[in-house]
């Protein structure tokens, strides 16, 4: 590259970085909801409202807002970004890049506990939960629709770079299946069971197994909120004896087992096992369709950092929850579909070089999952990123007038590198 051109390019990059930092400082000095507060525990609806009020009353904000309204007409932030059909079953590829709204009761029921990402923070701030309709999710919904449910379960895996939207695609699929009245077995993030310093207990069911009573109870609650209606309908097909005095007869509704697990934490992990056994049986009998959705499935096949009281390492195969959910990945049942994601962050620290499924699953995981359908979740296309920016400016996530000009948008896109997560971080004030 000749010297002059190089100087120009360097100057341009420097300019962008300088302008961006300026943009950020002005954004910060004016008003706004400091991003960090969203993550702090002290954050409440009340403090948000107070914050919003102070923003609206702020002179700087008013001026900014009035200018923006005039300028908006001249920028590319004018095309439609909302999809008014909120039923995921009706979404087609024509609606790619548009945002559809998950009704708040659906969100609370199915997705509230599902995601602990940038998205859940945004839902709080935006006071609505909108998911972008993207190709990977539509593709997966198509597979679910077209799969032969009499055959052994088909398994599919979302893979992609960190922040590309694997979890969001999974949520979209989850919403679709819940609307179709499937039974949902959703495991939000099994990798967290491998973290050290969790409360563990020795399994009462089998010697050598390790239970995670609190995590099991948390999952049971999540399972209960997602499938309340179906669990009331379905009844036990076998009878179980928990201890000398406690037992469950066949014929009791499954929700009773969930409640039992919640009240008797000691048996929570066993309850999960029992429920999965029953669910599999029901699925095989064609009584109910089951969607197994595991976010970060490679967490089930990575190393475990748990230690017993004798400071001995726990093998991941001995964790009862992991065993239970691994069984769901086998092909020995039908009338269901397994959708998973593989994520770098769910893997052990030593194996985080690559985001591809075979690498992340490892040999053991691949042998279990094989044959699976890999579905790539790519970063945003131009259409998608402009739609997202429209949404952000509509929600006042981008407030500064400079942020809404064509040049400002270009800078935001450049800084985010089309990555959905980075885009959300770049647009936030901190």
């Amino acid at each position: 590259m000749d010297a002059l051109l190089r100087m120009q390019v360097l100057g341009r990059i420097g300019n962008i970085i300088y302008r961006h930092s300026q943009l950020k400082t002005t954004l910060l000095s004016g008003r706004k909801i400091p991003y960090l507060r969203l993550h702090s525990k002290s954050f409440t609806e009340k403090s948000l409202l107070r914050c919003m009020n102070s923003v609206v009353n702020n002179d700087v904000f008013r001026r900014t807002y009035s200018i923006t309204a005039e300028q908006n007409e001249h920028t590319s932030l004018t095309f439609a970004f909302r999809c008014h059909d909120n039923n995921p079953a009706n979404h087609t590829i024509d609606q790619e890049g548009l945002f559809y709204t998950v009704p708040s009761e659906d969100y609370k029921r199915y997705l509230h506990k599902a995601i602990n990402t940038e998205f859940s923070a945004q839902v709080k701030v935006f006071a609505e939960s909108c998911i972008m309709i993207r190709k990977p999710a539509l593709e997966m919904i198509d597979y679910i629709r077209n799969s032969d449910l009499n055959r052994p379960v088909a398994r599919a895996i979302f893979y992609g770079h960190t922040g590309a939207g694997k979890t969001m695609s999974l949520c979209h699929v989850l919403h679709y299946c819940s609307k179709e009245n499937w039974l949902i077995v959703h495991v939000p993030w099994p990798a967290k069971w491998n973290k050290r310093n969790r409360e563990i207990a020795v399994s009462p069911f089998k010697e050598g197994r390790i239970d995670l009573p609190l995590d099991a109870a948390e999952w049971l609650l999540h399972f209960r909120t997602q499938n309340t209606d179906l669990l009331k309908e379905l009844t036990c097909q076998f009878s179980y004896t928990w201890s000398k005095r406690e037992s469950t007869e066949s014929g009791t509704p499954l929700i009773d087992i969930v409640d039992f697990g919640l009240s008797r934490n000691k048996f929570a992990s066993d309850c999960v096992g029992v429920l999965m056994k029953e669910v599999k049986k029901y699925a095989c009998d064609k009584r109910v369709k089951v969607l197994v959705a595991i976010d970060g499935v490679n967490g089930l096949y990575s190393q475990c950092a748990l230690k017993t009281e004798e400071k001995e390492n726990v093998l991941i195969e001995n964790v009862s929850l992991v065993r239970t959910f691994r069984k769901l990945l086998n092909t020995d049942w039908s009338n269901g579909f397994v959708v998973c994601t593989v994520d770098i962050n769910a893997s052990h620290y030593s194996t985080r070089e690559n985001h591809t499924p075979r690498y992340l699953l490892g040999k053991q995981g691949f042998e279990v999952m094989d044959p699976f359908i890999p579905v790539q979740v790519p970063i945003y296309t131009d259409k998608e990123i402009y739609s997202c920016l429209c949404y952000y400016s509509d929600r006042n996530w981008i407030q500064h007038p400079n942020g809404k000009t064509d040049e400002g948008l270009k800078e935001i896109i450049f800084l985010s590198n089309h990555n959905p997560y980075t885009l959300a971080r770049v647009c936030s004030s901190r």
Partner: protein, 356 residues
């Protein structure tokens, strides 16, 4: 006790601009006497300086020099050789053998070296004259095309015609797969022996040994880094014996031993596991077992009779699936191999989407 160097300003004397460096041995016991001694030495040295004559500046060329001196300096100097060289001079006569750089015999401008700043040679890379950098580096001025031509002319008398049928390198490799490289050193010194001449290098393509799959795998493990997977060549360097002949014999022995060891199948080799094989083989993988199980489960529901393994494996979709899994493992994961895998799985599971 310690030796120190002190800078003493001569404030006591009249000459304020002078400074005197005096080395004094400090004695911890005689602190008072020390100061007195210093003062005395100072006074003595200033006296001596004042007594000296005032120096006179000599202007060059003002006074006529004597004849002898003049003749010596004004004698005509020899011009460097390159000034008198013509373009059609025979270079081989100027530079007949290997020698270090001669600045005067080079008919082209050369510069080498490094200057740090403007104060050094005005920041210009030093020229050829008195340039030690040019002396350090090896030169090939004795190996110009003209030199080589002359060497060849002389050597021609000792050569025989090139054998027919070995016109190309491929033909040479085909007829003589084994290359043995030895070295001879000749120089003039009291002893003509050189320890380096004992080295023997044997080169051979692995494919020329015509081993089967097992043998190739085994010989690669036995050879270790003596086998280059990129060129497929085996290189054996032997230098453990004092004589060339002995080393050559040893290399031949090694090659023979390697060949027959590779052909042998020891009983413990049957215990080789999937992890011991460097290439992924679908035939013995879990993936194959999975597929067989899956297909048999499917078939059971459709028709009650079970199919044989070979029958299942000979199907097109299974074959393409197997090849895509092998590709995924042996070629590594990239978007192409993953997509191939995806297509074959979709075909296998009979799942369709308009979006793929």
């Amino acid at each position: 006790m310690s030796n120190t160097k002190i800078l003493v300003p001569l404030g006591l004397t009249n000459s304020l601009h002078h400074r005197l460096i005096i080395t004094v041995r400090l004695l911890s016991t005689a602190g008072n006497r020390k100061n007195e001694r210093i003062r005395q030495t100072r006074l003595e040295s200033t006296k001596q300086e004042e007594e000296k004559d005032f120096r006179v500046f000599q202007i060059k060329g003002l006074n006529p020099r004597n004849k002898r001196e003049q003749r010596k300096n004004d004698a005509p100097k020899m011009q460097p050789r390159y000034m008198n060289m013509k373009p059609d001079d025979d270079w081989t006569n100027v530079w007949p053998t290997a020698s270090t750089f001669k600045w005067s015999a080079i008919p082209f401008p050369v510069r080498q070296g490094y200057t740090d700043n403007l104060s050094e040679n005005e920041n210009v890379t030093p020229g050829r004259y008195a340039n030690t950098e040019l002396l350090k580096i090896p030169n090939f001025l004795h190996l110009s095309p003209g030199h080589i031509k002359k060497h060849c002319q002389v050597l021609k008398d000792f050569c025989t015609p090139w054998p027919a049928g070995l016109e190309t390198d491929e033909l040479c490799d085909q007829h003589f797969p084994l290359t043995v490289k030895t070295r001879d050193y000749c120089f003039s010194s009291p002893s003509v022996a050189d320890s380096r001449s004992r080295l023997v290098t044997v080169k051979l393509k692995l494919s020329d040994l015509r081993l089967d799959e097992h043998g190739e795998d085994k010989i690669k493990r036995l050879l270790g880094d003596k086998y280059d997977p990129e060129t497929g060549e085996i290189t054996l360097n032997t230098d453990r014996c004092p004589l060339k002949k002995q080393n050559y014999d040893y290399a031949m022995y090694l090659l023979t031993a390697l060949y027959y060891e590779a052909k042998k199948v020891e009983p413990w080799e049957l215990e080789k596991d999937e992890a011991d094989i460097d290439k992924y083989s679908w035939e013995r993988s879990q993936s194959k077992r999975n597929i067989l199980k899956l297909v048999q489960q499917n078939e059971k529901e459709e028709s009650l009779r079970e199919r044989s393994e070979d029958d299942i494996l000979s199907r097109d979709e299974i074959k393409s699936y197997a090849s895509s899994v092998i590709e995924l493992h042996n070629e590594g994961e990239n978007y192409t191999t993953i997509n191939n895998y995806k297509q074959s799985v979709l075909q296998l599971l009979n799942v369709k989407s308009q979006l793929t």
